[in-house]
């Protein structure tokens, strides 16, 4: 066994188990090789130091509640973003229904005009919102 192979096996041994045959060959190499013996010793010291050093940290007890708070904020924000659209659609439906009930005009005309106006005012509202967002961004 060469020193390079022996050192690879030594390192492998820290990551996972090496089989018995390889272990025996490694031990017989190390018994005769001072360099590989000191390499293994250095790696053992390093491994122990790293194991003691890298201890898993714990999340604080407030982690969950803080995250839940942020998620609730996100949900509220999402609703706020949809609210103008929902109100607009609701307003369009109410206005069209009121016209259908009280105006002496053919229902087909009321619904066509209602849908067209709802769509047109939605486009206007969207353009207005983008314009406001641009102004805020400046």
């Amino acid at each position: 066994m060469t020193c390079q192979t022996a050192q690879e096996l030594i390192l492998e041994g820290f990551d996972c188990r090496i089989d018995e045959e390889q272990q025996t060959r490694l031990e017989s190499h190390i018994a005769q090789c001072e360099m590989c013996r000191s390499f293994r010793e250095a790696q053992r010291v390093l491994d122990a130091a790293l194991a003691a050093h890298c201890v898993a940290p714990q999340l604080s007890p407030a982690f969950r509640s803080k995250l839940a708070h942020r998620i609730r904020g996100e949900k509220r924000q999402a609703l706020q973003e949809w609210l103008p659209d929902l109100l607009h659609l609701g307003g369009g439906i109410v206005a069209t229904t009121a016209c259908f009930l009280w105006l002496p005009v053919a229902p087909a005309v009321v619904f066509t005009v209602g849908i067209a106006l709802t769509f047109f005012s939605y486009v206007l509202q969207t353009v207005f919102r983008f314009w406001l967002e641009d102004l805020e961004g400046l």
Binding site: L46, A49, H53, C54
Partner: protein, 171 residues
């Protein structure tokens, strides 16, 4: 794996799915983030950001990648963005200086180990820290960093060799 979460998602029970996911992955994601940012309070902040992003994107998860891979990718990207932002801000106060990875008294000095770890290339440092945080599971480290197991081993070996060499030189 994670079939229960996928089922909850397919039933449109996003909040319940997220609750199960959080329970299963919060500690692992925290360790992954910690191995990248190297400071527990900052790691907690970045873990919060990661889970918020996961919550926002959960309804759009299409199941093409394993859920764990998807989660770890979001956590890694969030950590890297955080590091970049930190780098540009350059506000490394004394309070925010990287903290040691543990409080236990090691065989080698704490500062010495910290110095050895800091001297490693980022990917080697992340792999070696995560290896010990994940109780020496190469499989888990490979999944978390989205690397083949062979690459994880090779990073580990290089890191161990480099650290041992530096240690020899200093003595």
């Amino acid at each position: 794996m994670d079939q229960d979460i996928r089922e909850l998602l397919s039933q449109r029970q996003k909040d319940r799915a997220f609750e199960v996911l959080l329970q299963r992955y919060q500690a692992k994601v925290f360790r992954l983030v910690y191995s990248i940012v190297g400071n527990s309070s900052r790691a907690e902040e970045v873990t919060q950001d990661s889970f918020l992003k996961i919550w926002q994107a959960l309804a759009g998860y299409d199941g093409r990648a394993a859920l764990s891979t998807w989660i770890y990718t979001i956590a890694r990207n969030t950590s890297i963005s955080h590091l970049r932002a930190e780098f540009y801000r350059k506000t490394l106060s004394l309070e925010e200086a990287p903290e040691p990875f543990a409080k236990a008294e090691p065989v080698l000095g704490r500062i010495e180990i910290e110095r050895l770890l800091t001297g490693l290339p980022d990917e080697q440092r992340e792999v070696i820290v995560l290896f010990y945080l994940q109780e020496r599971s190469i499989e888990e480290v490979a999944a978390m960093l989205d690397l083949p197991e062979g690459t994880v081993k090779s990073h580990l070996h290089r890191a161990r060799k480099a650290m041992a060499t530096k240690l020899e030189v200093r003595r």
